[in-house]
Symmetry: C2
Subunit: 340 residues, 2 copies
C-alpha cells in the first residue's frame, strides 16, 4: 500500500530460487550463506551472485533457529508516562539498533502481572537479553521466574541483588557538581529544597550536598533539608519558608527542575533578583522546564540517554562474553544558564 | 542471574523431549500442538500432558516459519524526544501486547537513512505490519521501498497518500470544544495565540476556532490570529500584545498548554484575575504543564494513547482482513480546571 509503484517486492525471493539460479542444491546454498560446509570458492561465489541478482534476504526466523540467537533484546519499562524511562529507552535503542539487534518494547506500568506476561513472551521469543528501565532511582527486586541463561541489565533503578548488573545515575557526583558551582561563584548560604524523603534520589542528593558543604566548612542555610514534593507548587511554598527562616540565603540547590522553577518564581515575586541576590540550581536538565524558567535554569544533566546506551553495551557484553555485575554509575554534567 | 535459586530453567524443554515423554514421534507431537493432523484424542492429551509436565514452550521462531507470521509489529517513531509520540507508542503497545503480538521499537529521529536501516531490518524480520508514529500533525510522505504486502498505519502524522491508513487527532473538534466552552461560560471577546503558521496544527486549530466563533456571530478579539512559537515565552509576549490591542479581551484560546501558561503568567503579573477577568484555555492536556499553571489550566486533551490504540487496532484489521484506508480521527476531550 505504500511502495513506489512498479518496484519489485523486496526480500521475498526464497532460498530455493537462489539455489536454482546458482545451479546448486538448497543445502549447498544454505551452507554457502552460513559460511559452513566445504565447497569450491566458485560455487560459493555463484550462490552470492544469485543472492545479489534476486535481492534475496535470509529469513531471520530460519537464521535464529540456526544460530540459537534471536538478535532481539527485550526493553521493559516500568514507567507508562515515560519522562525518565523514555530517554533511557531511546539511548538503548540507539546503541542496539545500530547493529543488527532489534528491540522488543514492553511496558509493564509497574504492574507485576503485566511484567510476568511480558517476561513469558520474551522468553518464548528467545530474546538474547533484557534491559529493565525504571522510573526512579530506588532499587527494585530482580525479575523473577526468568530463564537464568538470559542476561538482564537494570537501568536507572538498580536491582537489589548485587550479583546483577545495574546502570544508574551518579547522584553523589551530581550533588557535588551543583554545590561546587555555587561555592565557586561565591555563595555561602545554600538552602536545599527537594522531593519526598522516601525517594532515594531526594535522600542521596541531600546527603551528598551536605557532605560537600561540610567539606568547605559550611552548613545548610536553614540548618535542615526541605523535603516535600517534586513539584513547582512545593518549590514556591518552600522558598517562602526558607526566606522566613533564613532571609540571608544566597543560593537554592533544588532536587529537580520543577522545584527550582517554583523557587525562582517565588523569589521574583518577593522582589529578589535571580541570580543577583540569590542563585538557583536545579536537577535533571529537563529542557522544557529549565528553559521556560525565568531566568533560564542552571541545572544538573543526568544523561539519561547515556544510561540507556551504557546499559545496552553492558547487555551486549553479557550476551557475547561475561557480565560485569555490580552497579555502574554514569556521570552527570553541570549546565550553566542564567540563574546562577 | 536473576531467577529464584533452585527454580528450573523455563521454556527450554525441546519438542523431542515432549514427544519422548508422550511416547509419540516428533511429527505427531508437532501436529498435536498445532491442532493439525488426525489423531486419537487420547494421543493429543498425552502430548498436552507432557507439555505441562516439562513446562515446554513452543519456539516462536519455529512457529513463525510454520505460520508465515512473526507475531511482531514494527513501531517506528520519528520523534527522538518523544513527548507526543511516546504516549501514542505506549497506547499501541498496550493494544498489541495484550495479545501475543510483540512490538519492535525503531527510532528514526526524522533521519531518512535511519528510517531505511530500520525498514530493512523490519522486512528481514518479516514483521506482520508497521505503525509509523509522527511528532507533528503535518502529513508525511509514505514509507518508500517497503514490501507492499506489509500493512502500514500512520499515527498522529498522516500519510500524504490517501490510499494509506492514518489515525490522527481531531483538531477541528478540539478547537470547537474550546470555543464552545468559552462561549458557554459567557465570554465574547476571545483572542487566539498559537504556534508557528507553518505547522498544520496551528493553522487548523486557528481556522476552526474562527469558524466556530463566526457561527456565533463573533470575530477574534484582536481581529487576527497570533502565530508565533509553542513556548511560554511567546505566550507571555503575545498576551502583552493582545492586552495593548484589545484591552477588553475576556478570553484566550491558546494553541498549546505552554503558550497558555505563559499567557496566564502575564495576566497575573498585569493584575488581571484568571478566570475572574479573563479565561484561559490551553491545548494538549500536558499534565505537568497544565497542573503547574497558576491557576491550573482548562485544556483540550488530544487522547494520544487512544490514537496509538486505534492505530494498533487498524493495523490488526489490515493484517487479518482488509485495511480501512483513509484518515481516521480520534475525538478530543475538554478538561475543565480553574482557569475558565
Amino acid at each position: 500500500m505504500t511502495s513506489a509503484a512498479g518496484s519489485p517486492p523486496t526480500g521475498r525471493a526464497r532460498l530455493a530460487d537462489v539455489a536454482a539460479l546458482a545451479g546448486v542444491s538448497v543445502g549447498t546454498a544454505s551452507k554457502a550463506l552460513n559460511g559452513g560446509g566445504r565447497m569450491r570458492p566458485e560455487t560459493r561465489q555463484r550462490v552470492l551472485d544469485a543472492v545479489e541478482t534476486l535481492g534475496f534476504r535470509p529469513n531471520q526466523h530460519a537464521q535464529s533457529l540456526h544460530s540459537g540467537r534471536s538478535w532481539t533484546v527485550g526493553l521493559m519499562t516500568t514507567d507508562g508516562i515515560g519522562r525518565f524511562s523514555t530517554p533511557v529507552l531511546l539511548g538503548a535503542e540507539d546503541a542496539l539498533g545500530a547493529g543488527k539487534i532489534s528491540v522488543l518494547l514492553c511496558d509493564t506500568r509497574g504492574d507485576a502481572i503485566r511484567e510476568q506476561h511480558h517476561l513469558r513472551n520474551l522468553t518464548d521469543r528467545r530474546v538474547d537479553g533484557i534491559i529493565v528501565a525504571g522510573r526512579r532511582t530506588d532499587p527494585r527486586p530482580p525479575l523473577t521466574g526468568i530463564d537464568p541463561s538470559i542476561p538482564v541489565v537494570y537501568a536507572l533503578a538498580p536491582s537489589t541483588d548485587p550479583a546483577d548488573t545495574s546502570v544508574v545515575t551518579d547522584d553523589r557526583g551530581g550533588a557535588h557538581l551543583a554545590v561546587e558551582h555555587l561555592l565557586a561563584t561565591g555563595r555561602t548560604r545554600v538552602a536545599h529544597v527537594t522531593g519526598p524523603e522516601h525517594h532515594q534520589a531526594a535522600r542521596d542528593r541531600a546527603r551528598h550536598a551536605i557532605e560537600h558543604l561540610r567539606g568547605a566548612g559550611l552548613e545548610l542555610a536553614t540548618g535542615r533539608v526541605h523535603f516535600g514534593e517534586w513539584s513547582e507548587a512545593w518549590g514556591r511554598r518552600a522558598a517562602d519558608a526558607v526566606l522566613r527562616t533564613a532571609p540571608d540565603t544566597d543560593a537554592f540547590f533544588c532536587g529537580n527542575d520543577q522545584i527550582a522553577r517554583g523557587v525562582a518564581d517565588t523569589l521574583r515575586e518577593r522582589g529578589r533578583s535571580v541570580p543577583g541576590d540569590v542563585a538557583v540550581v536545579g536537577y535533571d536538565n529537563w529542557d522544557t522546564m529549565a528553559l521556560a524558567c525565568r531566568p533560564p535554569l542552571t541545572t544538573i544533566d543526568i544523561n539519561l540517554a547515556e544510561i540507556g546506551r551504557i546499559a545496552a553495551l553492558q547487555l551486549l557484553q553479557a550476551i557475547d562474553a561475561v557480565p560485569e555485575p555490580g552497579v555502574h554509575t554514569v556521570p552527570c554534567r553541570l549546565v550553566v544558564r542564567e540563574s546562577s
